[in-house]
Subunit: 344 residues, 2 copies
């Protein structure tokens, strides 16, 4: 395993040394076809945070390919997933293009351009198999690498692994795909799961949702193999639950983003607790919650805001399941990852 | 005039030493009547930033007065005016209450509760008249003090002033009312205008929109009389225009807030300039604009974001009029306040 300092972060011959923007496929032809088919006047373009800088250049390319009277509008709203469509822009444009994520729910109006990565996953998978001792292995990846998924399965099978894959629930588009909030594709009959993809965001969620499984990360972007270690996160979760046990006043957050609404969960808390207040917002940020004089918060929106950004908030923020522990409805050992099911 | 340090900020016997929350009129009866009339299940409550902390207590009072099955939802979205309704919450509740502003546009769905101030304006007006040498005087105030406006007019008339008042355009509800973005009510035949109200936000906008008039501030909240001085603001505006003169790539911001949309203005810029990109968002913040690699921005949304928060952005941000100066369409001396007309 390449966990030592000499290899972690070694970017030679990896994706980070490539010029991704030159290689990524924005699928302009597919967009231009839709603009022409629908005789569109206004076209909305939405990029996730890390790719927003590419927006103007993509708009330039599209302007060169479309009639002069087509107006392109770039979404300036924060965007963190396919759950997070800019519905204002979507409703006010004839064609709406969402880049960087696969469909959470298909719609004639929306063109999803997943932006497949051109990074070769196999060199780092070659390193990873040294640390996959069992024959049965689950395989998962993100939207960016789905175009190589079948190849990855074959590659592992050629090395005599029994590869377990599944499509999760209807929140996921593809077999083997994970989202930050949903790891149903790893609900397979194997004790070890290989995650192929960049960063630790997804595998940490995966390991939290499946604490019984060993999650190995083959990261072809940063050229590193590591084991997902949830210890820090779990300590934070238990800490937040304990700090919230004395809370009197609870703010219950309902997130208004199209794919993050769980009103039934929010209302069930309000109904049982006279000291709970329902607060609605799109972006759940420390600044916005500071306006409310609560002892603790429950976030029914994105669970990764709760688990990853939780320590940045001025008061403990819990998932709905953790709330039930804090108020004594459930035992402490029921603490688990707040998987997000369904679409909208 | 009380501009010296001993009186400015002296809060004895002023509004700041009162417990406003005990005195302000949340008009609960009017809200409860609407809830009963409409047999409402869900009631949305929206407060501006400075009053969001009061929300839970107001919800408690309303819960005590309404049937148990009515759910109250507090908006956690930022809110800076009647232009800034939480349309998500409005559309998903049976009664939607907007506190702290007067109606920009009437609607059966919305209950506007202006939250009239209980601060007595006359002691500070008594000080202010020492610095109102001319007989003709314009009088303006904000939504919070409109309940005393007629009394203020009488009070000045008793002191032999010829008081000029008018209702501005259809963005304003009341005669004599100003908004942060509209001072049409001061478009009167007098060289001096008395502004009665808290803070300098409104009178500075007033003085920018009417540079030919002397604007005297009688602030009954902070117990101080001052002259509105726009020098700092104007220096910043001219500085921003000059810095933007070399800009190649322009980001043109269309604000999606219900009362801040000027798509015609945004599109007219895009049509004339191939290096201009249309960007849509609700909150216009430095963080959000940092995602876009532009040389300068034009904000067609709230002009006070541009003038008051402008220096916080990483690149010059101009009003649409200032943009025309920066690109050479208009002379420098045409620089003026970006008044916002109309509703939605």
């Amino acid at each position: 395993m390449s966990q030592d300092a000499t290899t972690e972060g070694d970017l030679r011959n990896t994706g980070m040394s490539l010029r991704h923007d030159r290689e990524w496929d924005y699928e302009l032809d597919r967009i231009v076809d839709a603009v022409e088919d629908r005789d569109a006047d206004r076209v909305g373009l939405q990029f996730p945070e890390g790719l927003k800088r590419r927006g103007p250049a993509v708009a330039d390319d599209l302007r060169a390919l479309c009639d002069n009277d087509v107006t392109f509008l770039l979404s300036g709203q924060p965007c963190y997933g396919a759950c997070d469509l800019d519905t204002f822009l979507m409703r006010r444009t004839d064609v709406f293009v969402h880049f960087g994520h696969s469909p959470m729910k298909e719609s004639d109006k929306i063109i999803y351009v997943p932006l497949f990565s051109n990074v070769d996953p196999f060199p780092i998978m070659e390193e990873a198999v040294d640390d996959l001792p069992e024959e049965d292995v689950g395989l998962v990846t993100t939207a960016q690498h789905m175009n190589r998924f079948d190849e990855m399965v074959e590659w592992l099978e050629e090395r005599d692994y029994d590869v377990h894959t599944r499509r999760g629930d209807d929140r996921l588009t593809h077999e083997g795909q994970v989202l930050g909030c949903n790891y149903a594709s790893a609900d397979i009959d194997a004790g070890q799961v290989l995650y192929v993809g960049g960063g630790k965001f997804h595998p940490l969620g995966l390991a939290m949702e499946h604490p019984d499984k060993r999650v190995l990360i083959a990261d072809p972007v940063n050229n590193v193999v590591t084991l997902a270690d949830t210890e820090k996160f779990l300590k934070q979760r238990y800490g937040a639950v304990h700090r919230a046990m004395d809370a009197q006043k609870w703010g219950v957050i309902f997130c208004t983003k199209i794919g993050q609404g769980r009103m039934d969960v929010a209302e069930s808390i309000i109904e049982d607790n006279d000291d709970a207040y329902l607060i609605t917002m799109d972006e759940v940020t420390p600044d916005r919650l500071r306006n409310f004089d609560m002892d603790a918060f429950v976030n029914t929106g994105c669970p990764r805001i709760t688990t990853d950004d939780g320590p940045q908030f001025h008061k403990p923020m819990l998932t709905p399941g953790e709330y039930r522990i804090a108020v004594g409805d459930k035992p402490l050992d029921s603490l688990s990852f707040d998987t997000f099911h369904g679409t909208w």
